[in-house]
Amino acid sequence: MSFQLPASSFQRRIVLAAAMAAAVGVGLHSQARSAPDWTTQGGDAQRSSWVVADPFISLDSLPKFQFLWKLKVDNDSRQSNALTAPVALGNLMTFRGFKSLVFVGGSSNNVYAIDYDFGTLFWKTHINYAAGTPEFAGSPRCPGGMTAGLTRATNLMPATGLAFFGFARPPRPARGEVGEPGRGSPRMNPTAPPPAARGSDTAARGATPPARGRGVPPPTFVFALPADGIVRALNPHTGDPAAAPAMLLPPNATTTGLIWADNVLYGATVNACGSAPEAIWAMDWDADAKPVTSWKSNGAPIGGFALGTDGTVYAATGNGTSSSANSIFALEPKTLAVKSWFTEPGAAFGSSPVVFTEGSRTYVAAAAQDGRVYLLDAAALGGTDHKTAIAVTPAMANRRSTSDALATWRDPQGTRWMLLPTTTAVSAFKLSSANNAPVLTQEWSSRDLTAPRTPVIVNGVVFALSSGQGRGPNAVLYALDPATGKDLWNSGTTITSFATAGLSAGTAQVYVVTFDNTVWSFGIPIPY
């Protein structure tokens, strides 16, 4: 049977266009959808570092993956701190047009908004230090300045897929109709609901379920925490203040994990910098007085924290003599009252845990300093004796974990993976079941990397960052096969400085920030 092109020019061109579309996979038609916004450290409240879907990045499209743009900003580095990992607002209707923005914090108390379609600066704002005590000059352990990544309102429920952006609607097939004589349009009595009103000031719709709580949409503010410990809510349109400043924690602290979720703003102070103890802090953003509560670890170093979908705060502590050391704590939302905990002497949890749900069960996973990965039941951390983990992997012989957290994702076959950045590589663990008990098994280890940061997974592609920090001249971004860890792509010598923060990702793009105060974007080019 032979294939013949249709006779008419128009029919022929339709067939050719369809054939070309099938050949290239993407590009001839609009996706009209955005990836979920990366709104906080680790991407979401659970710190999964997983962008569940992206309309452009995939294993199939990797041959098109490339350097897109870089933007050097006027921030001054402090110690080894420079820029924070970008957080994204993919679709904002501003008075200057619809913008796709990433926001980057600068160690010198700066905030930058970048139009990520073009890699151009949209606005910049400098936050004046306003605490009563002088601003700390900084040390390697306590660099001072802005240390916490920026955050936007983050939903407690992780995103489940792509969202139609702006005015985009699901495609429907075109059709022509004709009515009866004298009866008007065949659609005189439309039964379809009215189209949504045009004009929206919110982020891409549909990516995440509505925020919990009072049913009001979360603010579109960009939250920044400069050296003075006073939270600034910035208007994403201009960078101007959008709300009254409010003190979250003591000045000159080193802060990690800043997140706004369910009307509460959380952050963790680490390294006992300034007058700030090792602690988790929570501000009731909904209350006029912006009251702050804290949970102090009695000196145990805090590795980081993540939130469950019910708002529970899971905080990890490192080694030490404190009774709170080597533990994972479950804290009540907002009040930070201890709900339960898990303790393992010598575990030294030096990074943030991750939280995920499989089936009806929610898990907390955290990496110990010796490379062991602990899997805990979120509903009863450590069980009744506070010592029982669901699963633990063996310690690593030649590697140690770092202060960078695990990443976790589920592959298309339904397998849950944990990716652990260690001192020299990324190791991947698979969650499976043996004798009806969860088991974590190491599946692969990546090529050697220099001080790798937490990897990110974008629509099934693992991106790992060899930061170069401390030992290398420049950072290198790698795309890895999620099943084997093999290299699929790398940025070579494109990046000319070492990375000072972790990766983040947005629609069609992956971001690296470097010590020389440059933001680098790699991704799939989209015609502008």
Binding site: F10, H29, G97, R172, E177, S185, P195
Partner: protein, 529 residues
């Protein structure tokens, strides 16, 4: 000596009488549809009075204040002109003007006096609690269209009223010719009607009234209404669809998914055609810009009525959008084999910020051929010109908008291009121009078209938004007469027009230019007799 004087007087009177006779017997020009013709060229081909030399003598001939009530920001639509209508009082040149509150006015062009007015008794009553908005004002939203009847000297106005019904009215008397016809659902937002081979076409947008965005066609012979749904995107070219000589109906589709594999044609230019036997509208062709994804994301709709014209044996369509570039498309194969390759794609003319509001090309363009056979394309745009766009002749810095003029040319390889020729003076939001006898009439609408203002400092009062704020910040319209070859300003209405307009237009015929304004007025400028 006295005999010689008398003889001269007689000769002079004879010449004057001959001129008068010529003027009264020569066919007068019409402007029967928004954009001047079905192709939406906005070119008055039959102009014999105004020219580049005498337009400087233009003055306000009359101003008529109607009782039309504005709805939201809409008020009066572009006047339509019938050069010679047989009325009970003899032949008259008549201006027909639609007012958004379901009103039609007929004005005697010679005197500026009302001949008749008509208000449609609506069959649509908004449900309790329903409020209009800037984008969905209710009322008549489409400029009517006029066609000749079978009796010489008589004409029919076709009007779509608020309730979606199609009315046919006698131009001379305002009498409705038969009962109105069911046409569209009520409370929608159709754009200017177009009449082609006994079929009334329009397009709709904004989903007003909960209605889908469709191409509509009312077949006057069979009374059948056909619709075409592009699958996505509203069609809000200000002067409605343009139509080729072969009956292809062209429209840009605004924000919507461009996904031809799923037969979804948002953010595109589509061509549909009526099947002569079934009357159904079928997709004939389409063009999807290569950056459709980006245009959709940034709300840079293809919302412009693109004119259709012939050039050296081929037929072309020029289209644009809020993005502010031009696409030259061959009507026989829009976008080439892959539907995304234009014959010519211009650089950005304006809208450097790529804003969805107050910048870019809005409304409709114009095209004409000068006496030397050069094909011109006139592009009105809002906001400053792009810093990288220039023309050999410019008339000062552009802040608020201007008209950019292009010549259609072929390079030495035969590749077509639109070559910038001139950029006009600054205009406070340049709206669709019209052309007559080498004179380009452009106009600044004077409206405030900022939907979203810069957010105020924390704690400060925001500016009034929506219709009330925009109405309060609007100024007044100005009509400019420009030399079509150079863009030089030859005349302007200055501050004689005391109100502004929104999504309306101007029209030109027989040495006069017309505009309707927000306050319900109709202005006529021209050469004093």
């Amino acid at each position: 000596m006295r005999k010689i004087g008398i003889a001269l007087l007689v000769v002079s009177a004879g010449i004057g009488a001959a001129r008068l006779l010529a003027q009264t017997t020569a066919p007068l020009a019409d402007w029967l549809t928004d954009g001047g013709d079905s192709q939406r060229t906005a070119w008055q081909k039959n102009e014999r009075t105004v020219n580049v030399a005498n337009v400087k003598n233009f003055k306000l001939l009359w101003k008529y204040k109607t009782d039309n009530q504005a709805r939201e920001m809409h008020s009066m639509f572009p006047p339509l002109i019938v050069g010679r209508v047989n009325t009970p009082a003899g032949p008259k040149q008549v201006a027909i003007v639609a007012g958004i509150s379901d009103n039609i006015y007929a004005i005697d062009v010679a005197t500026g006096r009302l001949l008749w007015q008509h208000h449609f008794d609506t069959t649509y009553f908004p449900p309790p609690g329903q409020t209009p908005g800037t984008l969905c004002p209710g009322g008549i939203t489409s400029t009517p269209v006029i066609g000749p009847s079978q009796t010489p000297g008589t004409y029919i106005i076709y009007v779509a009223s608020w309730d979606g019904r199609l009315h046919q009215m006698d131009v001379a008397s305002g009498r409705e010719i038969g009962p109105s016809e069911l046409f569209m659902p009520p409370n929608g937002k159709p754009y200017a009607l177009n009449l082609f081979k006994n079929v009334v076409y329009t397009t709709s947008a904004q989903g007003c009234g909960g209605n889908p965005n469709l191409v509509y066609a009312f077949d006057l012979a069979t009374r059948k209404t056909a619709t075409f749904d592009p699958g996505n995107g509203g069609m809000w070219g200000r002067t409605g669809p343009s139509i080729s000589r072969g009956g292809l109906i062209f429209t840009g589709t605004g924000d919507g998914s461009y996904n031809p594999e799923m037969r979804s044609y948002g953010t595109a230019v589509i061509a549909v055609k009526q099947d002569p036997s079934t009357k159904i509208l079928k997709l004939a062709d389409y063009y999807g810009p290569p950056n459709a994804e980006y245009l959709l994301k940034r709300d840079l709709d293809l919302q412009v009525t693109g004119p259709v014209f012939e050039w050296k044996g081929r037929e072309f369509l020029v289209q644009s959008s809020k993005e502010c570039r031009l696409w030259l498309l061959d009507t026989s194969a829009l976008g080439g084999e892959d539907h995304s390759t234009a014959e010519y794609r211009s650089p950005l003319i304006c809208n450097e910020d790529q804003n969805y509001q107050a910048a870019g090309v809005y409304g409709a363009m114009a095209t004409y051929e000068d006496t030397a056979g050069v094909r011109w394309v006139l592009v009105p745009f809002w906001g400053p010109k792009h810093s990288k766009f220039s023309a050999p002749i410019e008339h000062g810095e552009v802040f608020n908008g201007a008209i950019a003029a292009f010549k259609l040319e072929a390079d030495r390889n035969g590749k077509l291009q639109l070559t910038p020729a001139w950029i006009s003076r600054d205009m406070n939001h340049a709206d669709p121009p019209v052309v007559a006898n080498g004179v380009v009439f452009g106009y600044a609408s004077g409206e405030d078209n900022v939907l979203i203002n810069a957010p105020p400092p924390f704690g400060a009062q925001p500016m009034t938004t929506g219709t009330p704020g925009r109405v309060s910040r609007s100024n007044h319209a100005v009509i400019y007469a420009l030399d079509g070859q150079t863009g030089e300003e030859l005349w302007s209405s200055g501050d004689q027009i005391t109100s502004w307009n929104h999504f309306s237009g101007i029209s030109v015929a027989n040495g006069r230019v017309y505009i309707g304004t927000f306050d319900g007025s109709v202005y006529c400028f021209g050469l004093a007799q």
